[in-house]
């Protein structure tokens, strides 16, 4: 390995072809290293696989002509791969790799790779020797089943190396095709969890100059699409992009650390840290005498027994005249209305019928209205996280 060599020139120097080639190679090598180490390789733009319907004149079966649309990719050597115009894929290339009649209709990968080719050219000056040209072309490669999963096995270029020339193709996954009856019958951008590979960025710092940094899931800004925006004034917002280019926040973290959530919060684990208020849960309803009052949803007897939750129980007797007491004018007074340590209702109302010569007095179990409030004490760093 050698350090990159930059050609220099002096006045009156006779330039040899090697000097000019070194000039170009230096620039190409520098560009390739930039692409390789500051970006992840993959599709930069375009390069979609589109289809046009066809019919096999012999069998009458429908199939598709697959067309690679123009675009640009960068491969793992840092080489730029340009497809300048739409190009139909050749089924013969598929058959050469996989056979004309494979036994499965599974999805086969389609790759793009750079390929240097000698270019026909005209002399720069009439009558002079034709100048050398290399066409930085491309090749479409049909893969075998499962070849898409071996892309990570490609060897890394040495640090000082320039872009590849296609001798050892570095395939960029474009998509998949399905083969049936001697033709391609469909395309797909993904197979299982593997899909088209797009170029990315390697950076430890991403800095905005407008004071606002956005992450969005589409190349073009689309109103209503989820967007993450870091704003120097309002903080971090996740929400939907609006027509003004900002975000209608669904989740917002202010510069002072306040979190605002428009939707629901589901906590699979526990919430730790210091909170100012404890948590409460409540159950209410009506119950007859002798029954156990329920715990609020999400509260367990173990929490109550362990002291992690304190119960506040309130019962009120319902004072409707029991039908079994019969006719007459009755006056009443609750004598017992309580719950025991098991939250069992104990409720009695004393009824007294007026007007009878011998006053009739009856003690009758009475239903109750109840409220059970479970309160967890304010969590602290010492007590939170782990109470079940």
């Amino acid at each position: 390995m050698t350090a990159p060599v930059r050609p220099t020139f002096t006045e009156g120097q006779v330039l040899a072809a090697a000097d000019l080639t070194a000039l170009v190679d230096h620039a190409r090598g520098q560009q390739a290293r930039h692409e390789r180490y500051l970006h992840d390789w993959g599709i930069a733009t375009g390069l979609t696989l589109t289809t046009e319907g066809r019919t096999d004149p012999a069998s009458g079966d429908a199939y598709v002509q697959v067309i690679l649309q123009p675009g640009v990719a960068v491969d793992g050597t840092g080489r730029e791969v340009v497809v300048p115009a739409a190009a139909p894929l050749q089924e013969a290339d598929f058959a050469a790799v996989n056979g004309a009649d494979p036994a499965t209709e599974s999805l086969y990968p389609v790759f793009l790779a750079g390929l240097d080719q000698a270019a026909t050219s005209q002399p720069l000056v009439a009558g002079s020797t034709p100048a050398g040209r290399i066409q930085e072309g491309y090749q479409v490669i049909f893969g075998r089943l499962g070849d898409e999963s071996t892309l990570s096995d490609l060897p890394d270029p040495t640090v000082d190396s320039g872009p590849g020339d296609g001798t050892d193709p570095w395939p960029v996954l474009l998509g998949f095709v399905r083969w049936k009856g001697g033709h391609i019958v469909a395309t797909a951008p993904t197979s299982g969890r593997v899909g088209r590979r797009y170029a990315g960025v390697r950076a430890d710092t991403v800095a905005a100059r407008s004071g606002r940094l956005a992450l969005r899931p589409d190349p073009e800004a689309a109103i209503g699409r989820p967007t993450l925006m870091l704003d120097g004034e309002s903080g971090l917002a996740f929400g939907r992009l609006n027509s003004e280019g900002s975000v209608d926040p669904l989740v917002n973290v202010s510069p002072t650390g306040d979190v605002t959530v428009a939707g629901n919060i589901t906590v699979a684990g526990s919430i730790s840290g210091v909170t100012k208020l404890g948590l409460t849960a409540m159950a209410s309803g009506r119950s007859s005498d002798g029954m156990l009052l329920p715990l609020p949803a999400g509260v367990t007897q173990k929490q109550v027994d362990g002291g992690a939750v304190t119960l506040h129980v309130h019962v009120t007797p319902r004072l409707d005249l029991p039908p079994q007491l019969g006719e007459g004018t009755w006056v009443l007074g609750p004598t017992v209305c309580d719950v025991d340590t098991d939250r069992r209702v104990l409720s009695r109302v004393r009824w007294c019928r007026l007007g009878a010569q011998d006053a009739e007095v009856r003690d009758v179990p009475a239903p109750v209205d109840f409220v059970v409030i479970a309160a967890a004490p304010p969590a602290t760093a010492d007590t939170a996280g782990g109470q079940q």
């Binding site: 009506r286 007859s288 029954m291 098991d342 069992r344 009695r348 004393r350 007095v361």
Partner: protein, 198 residues
Amino acid sequence: MTVVYATDTGHVLGVQVATGPATGTPSTVDLVGSALVATLWPTPAPTGAPDEPIAIPVPAELLTVAAAKDLPDVLLNPTAYHVPPDATGTIDLALWPTAVAVDSLPDLTAAPAGGSDPGGDVQIEVKLSSKELSLRSGGEDKTANFLVLLSGGVSAPLTGALKAGAAAFPLTELSKGTYGVLVLMTGVSGLLVSRQVS
């Protein structure tokens, strides 16, 4: 509305109505623990004498939980209602005729047809001695199923069917005192009475 009822007879023994949407039917243990406690409140004495209640636990294994259509009166007098034997889904509770405990019934052959008065009451004779508990029914159904429980754990739950309107159970020698007796007999509302053993 959730009801707890005696599996053998269908008598509703407990009711609970939770606020908010139903979140499934709770278990028997959730609603009553190991037993639902029926409490007998003695008739208050004019003298203000102590009137300690008598607790009669009904073991959870004798009970079933079901969802029932809302019926507010069930809360006021649960045992007057029952779960029909063939009920499924959210149950329509039905009302029993009223049972009235008496110390003694006339000869059964002389009992009025159906044993009921015009108001629909059915007389039930409950006798308790130190050696025996006996039941007689003045109702129409002389083969009614029943579940009888005594306070103080002096006897296992007594179950069975009437024969010719009567049934009797021998007891291990009961000590003197007042006992609560819960009588659940198909065809009539639940009966909770006290009986003295002397």
